[in-house]
């Protein structure tokens, strides 16, 4: 049975890839949208990768970690796991039928698709 998280949105930390492809940028924009919608707090993946002590300790204080990667390379997931963090909810943009390319004409509907998908996963885990 999936464990429910008794957390508030302030305790939910959002990390995303921001890689040099359309899906990397969609992942980033979806994370921004989730933060704007109050689903959680957008945290700095680069700070984790850079071993910035303040970022790492702040992340330890989170109750639910969510991550969005652009593609199966999975840089956000690997960066968090490298430090020893467990990810509670995770998605790759390409899993949602959005094909990776290296052009940056991003469709707002694709950003919405990813943010909506992740928001649903978070709501389910929170039991709301």
């Amino acid at each position: 049975m999936e464990e429910k998280c008794l957390c508030e949105s302030n305790d939910i930390l959002i990390f995303s890839c921001a890689g040099s492809s359309n899906v990397g940028q969609i992942a980033n924009l979806a994370a921004v949208r989730l933060a704007q919608e109050g689903v959680g707090r957008y945290f700095c993946l680069a700070g984790i990768g850079g071993h910035v002590s303040g970022m790492i300790e702040s992340t330890k204080a989170g109750k639910m970690l969510i991550a969005i990667d652009g593609c199966p390379v999975g840089c956000a997931k690997k960066t968090l796991e490298h430090i020893g963090f467990n990810i509670d909810e995770y998605v790759q943009v390409t899993e949602l039928g959005i094909e990776k390319n290296h052009e940056f004409s991003l469709a707002p509907s694709d950003v919405g698709k990813v943010s909506h998908h992740m928001a649903s996963l978070v709501s389910k885990r929170r039991g709301i």
């Binding site: 945290f43 002590s53 970022m55 300790e57």
Partner: protein
């Protein structure tokens, strides 16, 4: 050694400051203790959850209030 307590005056920030003072007393060592309440300085440490405890520039804990005994363990 310098210990900084990061926070903008919340109850937990004050509790952490008191715990630091108690830990320093316990250690018997000479330690400079400072409160950092300026949000720009706090963010400069990459801290997004307060209170936080910084020892010689390294964030040891954020978003929690460690007990004096634990803090004492970090004082060299």
């Amino acid at each position: 050694m310098k210990i900084e307590v990061l926070g903008m005056g919340c109850a937990n920030c004050n509790k952490l400051y008191q715990n630091v003072l108690e830990a320093v007393k316990m250690s018997g060592k000479e330690v400079e203790v400072a409160k950092v309440e300026d949000i720009k300085k706090i963010m400069g440490y990459g801290v997004l959850s307060t209170p936080a405890l910084v020892i010689d520039g390294v964030v040891k804990v954020a978003g929690k209030v460690p007990k004096p005994e634990e803090i004492n363990g970090w004082i060299k």
